[in-house]
């Protein structure tokens, strides 16, 4: 497997400018001869499809929801980072770059992260021009807030609905192109297979979720913007439909999968209430700007929170990390919450919870100000828990939120399959082993608006001459398409014919339990080895006992779910294997054997690399490759937030 990262030479701050100049272009008049498939319509997919459409390419965009505006980017609450330094508090492109590399526990590529920080400023300008109603100061300028892992205020926001507003900005740009006919939108279509012809990605196979029709689509390049795989844990903050199928199918067709074990557990989610729970709800990290996290000092202290005096409370984040306090990065805050709960100091009926308390903030600023800042979040909390957070502290607990791992891409965002580009959460590139808050929105839009439109042009310009595209246009008549359609149809028939006794959800729930217990916040060699035994057993039972009712040629949500669970059952094994072989702790990957008094202990001699998995065939162990990471600008150091 060729893992040439294609990082341009030269000083880090000049790499992207230099590369932009050196990349090949496609003449505007020739762009209409190229067809591009974009799968996914979240921040990355919608911004890419809209921009490519504007540039004149023929774009087909697919999403499984009923409208592109439903993609789960919409649920991001807190904000988007940008190195604008509007607050005059010492921010710069270099500082955002530095914070992101350090926040990722030195497991990201420097050059990619620097480019991300550079284009962050353009994103804000773009969104303002589109009419995104960011929060404003009274003088009319843009407002900022702070987020975890940074000591400057660089996060732009639109109340607690920043993801929604940014996505609606990208969606409006996308719909504009749909109206103009440059982008064709295919909603309720789920990608089931990638089609590779002569070593290049040339199309996809989809299932129409209304009619059940399995169809092939040909193009000159395929872009995956299909998000993360957090739902492998069953319970996560992802939307119910989020799945690994598109990226996993691409992996099985030869795309390398990088760092699947890097998953982010978000510290502030609403705790689980019972077995019926279908998903977990995040409470934005921005709440930690003003809320204080604490548990009782004494184990088993069951007094109501307002009867526990200050002296008996442990504000453990402020105690352990005085300089970052409640705004410590996510991996660290989650781990600290797990520790205090393991010690028996957790709160709530289950003991799996810590307090996030606004009493001080309300005393300091008044309830009205707190309401202005966080009103909708407080309302959502009350809706779900039936408790009023203005009166009693919120109870929160960590939950799976984001996946830093994803398909391996080079500097041009191209996977190991030529012509297959991967953007947004679906790729692995920018966040290392831990993502900082408000950086996912930044990366999705950076990839879609400002990076892919250049690098895809370069791919066409350098490897797919227009004469060739015009003379021999790719069509679905190539036998590879018929084969892919057949394999999808076979799989659908197989799922429908099992007629077992258990629902797809029950298998998903069982898988989630294995993953959360053994490959969650704390991982051990023993647990991971056990999981490697349990997952194939569960998979075998799935293919014998699952019951998928209904037909293939109609709306069938059980069938959709069964297909996704089947892929999670294979993917989970690779994820566990990756966690087992990475014998160090870094960011969100915490191996209990490798720690320094609860802090992650990296092994830079052995593991300062990206682990990339290559598919070897059904039932065979995938092959692990590595891309070494070199740090020329940020000095490798133990991450400290103390």
């Amino acid at each position: 497997m060729n893992l040439d990262s294609k990082i341009p030479s030269g000083p880090i701050e000049q790499k992207w400018s230099k590369h932009k100049f050196e990349m090949k272009l496609v003449n505007p008049a020739n762009r209409r001869h190229y067809r591009v498939i974009v799968v996914g319509s979240g921040l990355a997919g919608a911004s890419a499809a809209a921009t490519l459409g504007e540039q004149g390419y023929n774009v087909d965009c697919f999403c499984f929801q009923d409208s592109p505006r439903r993609a789960h980017s919409i649920a991001a609450q807190g904000g988007i980072n940008a190195a604008k330094n509007y607050q005059n508090d010492g921010d710069s492109v270099y500082r955002l770059f530095y914070d992101t590399v350090k926040g990722g526990d030195f497991r990201a590529r420097e050059a990619n992260v620097h480019r991300l920080a550079e284009v962050s400023v353009n994103i804000i300008d773009q969104c303002v021009a589109q009419g995104v109603p960011f929060a404003r100061e009274y003088g009319g300028t843009l407002a900022n807030r702070s987020f975890g892992g940074a000591q400057v205020s660089r996060t732009f926001y639109a109340r607690g609905q920043t993801g929604q507003q940014l996505l609606l900005g990208a969606y409006s740009a996308l719909e504009r192109q749909v109206g103009l006919g440059t982008v064709k939108m295919h909603t309720r279509h789920e990608m089931m297979e990638l089609v590779v012809v002569d070593g290049r990605a040339r199309g996809i196979v989809t299932r129409n979720m209304v009619t059940g029709a399995v169809e092939a689509w040909a193009a000159d390049a395929v872009v995956l913007a299909t998000g993360g795989y957090g739902n492998v844990f069953y319970l996560s903050t992802n939307a119910m439909g989020c799945n690994v199928t598109a990226t996993y199918r691409a992996y099985k067709k030869g795309a390398g999968f990088a760092n699947p074990c890097y998953t982010q557990i978000h510290p502030t989610c609403i705790p689980v209430t019972g077995d019926h729970q279908s998903k977990l709800t995040l409470m934005s990290e921005s709440l930690r700007n003003d809320g204080r996290v604490w548990v009782p000092k004494q184990k088993g202290d069951k007094r109501p929170p307002d009867q526990i005096p200050e002296a008996d409370r442990d504000y453990y984040l402020e105690r352990k990390y005085p300089s970052f306090g409640n705004l410590s990065p996510r991996d660290i805050a989650s781990r600290a919450a797990k520790q205090v709960c393991d010690e028996g100091r957790g709160v709530g009926d289950t003991g799996l919870g810590v307090y996030l308390d606004f009493a001080d903030a309300i005393r300091r600023m008044g309830e009205q100000t707190v309401r202005e800042r966080y009103g909708n979040l407080f309302q959502m909390y009350e809706q779900i828990t039936g408790e009023n957070p203005y009166k009693v502290p919120m109870r929160i607990f960590p939950a799976v939120h984001y996946t830093m791992g994803g398909l391996w891409v080079d500097y041009n965002l191209q996977s190991t399959i030529p012509g297959l580009h991967v953007i947004g959460e679906a790729n692995f590139s920018d966040h290392g082993a831990n993502r900082l808050g408000a950086s996912a929105l930044m990366q999705g839009l950076a990839d879609g608006y400002f990076i892919l439109p250049y690098t895809l042009g370069n791919y066409f310009g350098s490897q797919m001459p227009v004469t060739e595209v015009k003379k021999n246009p790719i069509t679905t008549a190539r036998p590879e398409f018929a084969e892919a359609v057949k394999s999808v149809n076979d799989r659908v028939s197989r799922l429908l014919s099992i007629k077992g006794t258990k629902s797809p959800t029950s298998f998903h729930r069982d898988l989630g339990k294995i993953m959360w217990d053994k490959c969650g916040m704390g991982r051990t060699r023993e647990g991971l080895t056990q999981a490697l035994k349990e997952i194939p057993e569960l998979r075998e039972r799935f293919w014998k006992e699952v019951n998928v009712l209904g037909d293939g040629n109609a709306v069938n949500q059980s069938l959709e779910l069964a297909g996704r669970v089947a892929d999670f059952l294979e993917f989970a094994e690779m994820m566990v294997r990756d966690a087992l072989e990475r014998e160090e702790s870094c960011g969100g990957h915490f191996r209990e054997e490798y720690q320094d008094d609860g802090e992650a202990l990296r092994d830079d001699d052995k593991f300062c690399h990206v682990a990339v998995w290559e598919y070897q065939g059904e039932g065979k162990k995938p092959m692990r490759h590595t891309e070494p990471l070199t740090f020329e600008n940020v000095k490798l150091a133990t991450r400290s937030y103390k």
């Binding site: 505007p28 353009n122 303002v128 109603p133 440059t182 439109p453 949500q557 059980s558």
Partner: protein, 266 residues
């Protein structure tokens, strides 16, 4: 929570194979429902039980389950998104119901929302209304600095109030005329209060209203039921603003950019 009293409910759920077959209510007993469940989790439980009995589960749209994606729908006891104000179906919790309640569950019914199966309908007409004008025609790149355009905080807040629309279509389902004016008004109003939205304001409102007519959405007759059921509590003032804009557009003509963005693309 296990210590809390569970609910025993009687559900009447609309079942319909597809748009070309007739539908009817099916009746199910739903015992042992925890008050901590969301309404959709209650539906999950129902579906799991149906699968166990070998019956096809009820199809319904849902995705984020945190009240923001706008995909969940359902008319519950005659009201889109159910009895509670300002929430989507996924954020409605069973503690809003009592033991022994009967609950009638139907799809969003409106001419422009053809039924797909059971409780799921096709709301793509709303996307087509947006494609007709719900945007600012700005290309990627070459935009001025974000702080180059100061925006009055009060105006930015009015814009944000409208922009909070999640496009669920409850307003349409609640309206006797099947009018999408609250949805459309939210799209118009969010740009109306921003300086960036001024250039195309005449064309935007005219194109979107014409498209809504073409899609079969009705006109507004000021019942304001839409505001009552809107899970994001979009105020009806956006409809007043939109009609005012529409009149203004008719008087001034759509002079500035008759078809927004026509010259773009290659």
């Amino acid at each position: 929570m296990s210590t809390k009293q569970t609910l025993n409910l009687k559900l009447h759920v609309w079942r319909q194979k597809n748009a070309s077959t007739e539908g009817a209510f099916a009746h199910y007993d739903a015992p042992g429902i925890s008050p901590d469940m969301s309404f959709l989790e209650m539906m999950d439980v129902l579906n799991e039980r149906l699968i166990e009995k070998g019956e096809e589960p009820v199809a319904f749209d849902h995705d984020c389950r945190e009240g923001i994606c706008g995909m969940c729908s359902m008319v519950i006891n005659g009201e889109p998104h159910g009895p509670k104000r300002g929430v989507t179906t996924c954020q409605l919790h069973m503690r809003s119901f009592s033991d022994g309640d009967e609950i009638w569950i139907e799809p969003f019914r409106a001419g422009p929302f053809p039924l797909l199966k059971d409780l799921a309908v096709n709301r793509s007409a709303l996307d087509r209304v947006v494609a007709a004008g719900g945007f600012i025609s700005v290309r990627t790149g070459g935009t001025p600095d974000g702080n180059a355009i100061p925006i009055n905080k009060a105006e930015a807040d009015l814009s944000m109030d409208a922009a909070a629309c999640i496009g669920c279509g409850a307003c349409v389902a609640a309206c006797k005329n099947g009018s999408a004016m609250l949805f459309l008004g939210a799209q118009v109003s969010k740009y109306l209060h921003l300086p960036q939205g001024q250039t195309e304001r005449a064309a935007r409102v005219a194109n979107m209203i014409n498209k809504a007519d073409e899609e079969g959405f009705g006109a507004c007759s000021n019942y304001t039921e839409c505001e009552a059921v809107c899970p994001k509590e979009i105020p009806v003032r956006v409809i007043a603003e939109t009609y005012r804009e529409y009149v203004r557009s008719a008087v001034k003509g759509k002079a500035q950019g008759e078809v927004a963005g026509k010259d773009d693309g290659a």
